[in-house]
């Protein structure tokens, strides 16, 4: 085929693909109102309703999908870093990261298939409507899933064949396409999820389809969720491979192995925290959009039946930040220069622990009637004010800034700046920190004295301040690091205890992801599709925190079992049986 013929064929293929979602228009009765399910529309299997089955499968699928979509993102970046720095260690580590995720891929497909089956089995009427709304997009999703498989296997198995020279760039291009396909898959699934929260492209009274698939896709909460899940996936993927590295570090038999897995653990922690630091801001955007879409939905999440869940969220995030910081502080021992930062650790620890305590302080206390009588209410006079958003926003921003400071200390322990403006640069960084912290505290105080409707707005300058400090300090440090004298980093010089911090991250992250998913889903209250299609099943209630916590724990344990198996498989792949001398060929 001629070159122009190929181009023409490609154009036709792309156009067909783009039109695919609309091709199925005729198949559905678009003008019909949304169905109104009755109790009879919710089959049970063995007396069991659909919710626990769908909840468990959906959460497992999300855990695995987050992991297998995230790993190729940072693998590609590490591979590129290897090309740019010509350091072969990056390439080996990227390949090892990808190997871990490969075994998880088939589990992702398995749980995805199970989830689809369960949805059609238990919620046929809801799925019928969703298929009517998203029409051929579902076929497009299936097509992308096939492409994801092809490019993932191609990326992994061509690693050694496309290792050097121009071929390496070809390999990077395959990785790029793999990530494009993976992210598109996630964005499509996010559209279905967010459509159920903030339906668009349908008549608000009847649910009849009035718009295109694209209108339903770009509903008000789609992009906030896209960003939130993109960042969360990176943090999550980093945390899981960090646990792999920590386990291999603890099981290492040689100093060389320890050094390798220490470096791998450090990189994983870096990825996890780098994805995690901007996550609260993406969460803030998502919640602000939820409030803008429906104040009722926002209040249900933050100030209503689900409000106590945010105390658990605070405990989980506090645990993650404490563990990540502890690991970084232990890392200062890897170099002699790190010792000079050790005196500052205690101050950072005070801020992180203090922030954590403020964050977990509830506005209303759980008290006996006698205690309520003595206290004169359910709110403590001194601690009560710490339970509202201005205090919590201030605490979170300070925790993030000081976590970044821990990172910066470790980064600087490996470098001695030689640029002539190093002193001035340090002064600017110091001034940024001081001015930023003062600004965050003042904005927090302003949050107390302004009416409720402006309280959330008061957190915007806090968020911008934190981002400014992180970005500006990273840029200044980057320039100061040019031509810097490198200090020797003794990889492998880490305590056993420090590695347990790397197990804290994935466990807390997994629990946290399931918790936030439960909150996000529950804000729809008794609606399948908010204000369009009511849930008429006997399970249309929001379960208690305890019931939800037990379900989250069950799914987390199941996921941990799968991950242990995946780790074992990836190790098994590298194990070679020693030759039996009795089977040696005769001379």
């Amino acid at each position: 085929m001629s070159r122009s013929g190929k181009i023409l064929l490609a154009c036709v293929a792309v156009a067909a693909l783009a039109a695919l979602p609309e091709l199925a228009h005729a198949a559905g009765a678009l003008g019909d109102p949304a169905p109104v399910p009755t109790r009879a529309d919710y089959p049970t299997v063995g007396g069991m309703g659909g919710r626990p089955v769908v909840w468990g499968l959906a959460q497992m699928h999300l855990f695995l999908a987050a992991f297998v979509l995230a790993v190729p993102i940072f693998v590609l970046m590490i591979e590129l870093a290897g090309v740019l720095t010509r350091d072969p260690r990056y390439d080996a580590m990227a390949h090892e990261f990808l190997k871990i995720s490969m075994a998880a891929y088939s589990f992702t497909a398995l749980t995805g298939g199970g989830l689809a089956l369960a949805l059609f089995l238990f919620y046929p009427v809801v799925m019928d409507y969703m298929l009517r709304v998203f029409r051929g997009q579902v076929l497009f999703y299936a097509l992308l899933f096939g492409m994801e498989s092809v490019f993932l296997y191609l990326y992994y198995y061509s690693w050694d064949a496309l290792r050097h020279g121009n071929r390496k760039w070809m390999h990077l291009a395959i990785g790029l396409v793999l990530n494009d396909v993976g992210l598109t898959l996630m964005f499509i699934a996010n559209a279905w999820t967010t459509f159920m929260m903030s339906p668009a492209g349908v008549d608000p009274l009847t649910g009849a389809i009035t718009g295109s698939v694209w209108e339903a896709t770009r509903n008000p909460l789609w992009n906030p969720l896209n960003l939130h899940r993109f960042l969360a996936n990176i943090a999550y993927g980093g945390a899981i491979v960090g646990a792999y590295a920590a386990y291999r570090f603890l099981s290492a038999r040689t100093a060389e192995e320890r050094a390798h897995y220490d470096w791998m653990g450090y990189t994983s922690n870096f990825i996890a925290v780098a994805g995690f630091l901007p996550l609260p801001f993406a969460g803030y955007w998502l919640m602000a959009e939820i409030y803008a879409y429906s104040q009722q939905m926002g209040i249900t999440a933050m100030g209503g039946i689900l409000a106590w869940l945010f105390i658990i969220q605070a405990v989980l995030i506090g645990t993650i930040l404490l563990a990540a910081n502890y690991y970084l502080w232990c890392g200062l021992n890897r170099s002699e220069a790190g010792a000079r930062y050790a005196p500052y650790v205690k101050y950072i620890a005070v801020v992180i622990v203090g922030g954590f305590l403020v964050w977990v302080t509830p506005h209303s206390l759980i008290l006996t009637p006698e205690e309520v009588r003595i206290l004169g209410g359910t709110t403590h006079k001194v601690l009560g004010p710490l339970g509202i958003m201005p205090a919590k926003n201030t605490a979170v921003n300070l925790m993030l800034i000081f976590t970044f400071m821990s990172f910066q200390m470790f980064y600087r322990s490996g470098r001695e700046p030689t640029v002539p403006w190093a002193r001035a640069g340090n002064a600017v960084i110091g001034a940024l920190y001081i001015a930023g912290i003062v600004n965050i505290v003042l904005a927090g105080i302003y949050g107390y004295i302004t009416p409720t409707v402006y309280k959330v707005g008061a957190s915007v300058p806090q968020v911008l301040t934190t981002l400014t400090i992180i970005i500006a300090c990273a840029v200044i440090d980057g320039f100061m690091g040019r031509g810097a004298r490198r200090n020797k980093i003794h990889w492998g010089r880490m305590s056993t205890r420090s590695q347990y911090a790397l197990f804290v991250l994935p466990v807390a992250f997994t629990w946290l992801m399931a918790l936030m998913g439960y909150i996000r889903s529950s804000v729809r209250t008794q609606w399948h599709v908010y204000a369009i299609m009511k849930d008429a099943s006997p399970e249309a209630y929001i379960p208690t925190i305890g019931d939800a916590g037990n379900m989250i724990t069950t799914v987390t344990l199941a996921f941990m079992a799968v991950i242990v198996f995946v780790f074992w498989l990836s190790q098994l792949g590298a194990t070679k049986q020693a030759a039996d001398s009795s089977e040696a060929p005769a001379e």
Binding site: A292, I305, P451, V453, W511, T544, N550
Partner: protein, 282 residues
């Protein structure tokens, strides 16, 4: 050994999080239930009480209208004092000022529910709209979907709460008048006793009540010890919500919510709550 230590450490953490979830306050949030109200027999006091229940229940008004400042606290607001300045405000775009006296207040309250952006109290508008658009949903549409009678009941409640004359008519005054002029009404009037209600709704045809000896439905002796009043109410109005072991769904009529008057439902719930355990009352 390392593997076991890591697994034990991870499990301890997971169970600590689960423990935390189980020691916090445990509240299950059920979807709002449609209250069976006999609008034909409501007097003004009953309508006001119904309005209050809707205000805190199905209407979800207190989600925002409370002391936390998301929306004006209607239970504390002196509406009589506030009202004149609101409709005199140049931003006011509603039609309530065309009415006069108490009728204007009634129109304003109703309008604020079905067209909340007609006037937005300063500081409570949707972000970026300069208080021109209210974040409040129209209560006659989803997700709240109050009926005209329910909106009227809330208006009556708020008028009464503000110490104003309640101007809202009873929901079906015409129907009541028609029923009175036709003698006892189409359905023979509400049952006065539990026994009469049992006969009227045919409960004894399936349940062993009042000596009927029927066994199509479960025995109800001592049911008051197992179910509280709310659960009994639900079992009558939504019988498929929970089916007793050994019995089939869809056997009991599903439309008692439409058939029964509130007083009759209360009679039955009282009766069942006190039904002795040994045998069905005779």
């Amino acid at each position: 050994m390392t593997f076991l230590k890591v697994v034990a450490f991870s499990l301890a953490m997971v169970f600590a999080f689960a423990l935390l979830a189980n020691i916090l306050p445990q509240v299950q949030s059920n979807p709002p239930t449609e209250e069976a109200v006999d609008t034909g027999s409501l007097d003004q006091a009953g309508q006001i009480a119904w309005g209050e229940r809707l205000f805190t229940g199905k209407g979800t008004c207190t989600l925002c209208h409370n002391a936390l400042g998301r929306a004006p606290d209607l239970l504390q607001l002196d509406l009589a004092a506030e009202f004149p300045s609101r409709i005199a405000d140049p931003r006011y775009a509603g039609a309530a000022k065309e009415a006069e006296g108490p009728a204007a207040v009634e129109a304003y309250i109703r309008e604020s529910m079905i067209a909340p952006s007609a006037f937005v109290v300063a500081g409570f508008g949707k972000k970026g709209t300069a208080d021109k658009i209210s974040p409040m949903p129209k209560v006659d549409g989803p997700p709240i979907s109050l009926t005209a009678d329910e909106i009227n009941a809330i208006v009556a409640f708020l008028e009464d709460r503000a110490g104003l004359e309640v101007t809202v008519p009873l929901p079906s005054a015409e129907a009541v008048a028609a029923a009175e002029s036709a003698g006892d009404g189409a359905d023979g009037g509400p049952a006065e006793t539990a026994a009469a209600a049992i006969v009227k709704f045919g409960c004894g045809a399936c349940h062993d009540l009042e000596g009927s000896g029927a066994d199509v439905g479960p025995k109800l002796g001592g049911i008051g010890a197992r179910l509280d009043r709310a659960a009994l109410r639900r079992a009558i109005l939504d019988p498929n919500a929970e089916i007793a072991k050994g019995f089939e769904p869809d056997t009991m009529p599903q439309d008692f919510a439409e058939q029964m008057r509130v007083s009759e439902l209360d009679l039955l719930v009282d009766y069942l709550s006190n039904l002795p355990a040994a045998e069905a009352a005779r």
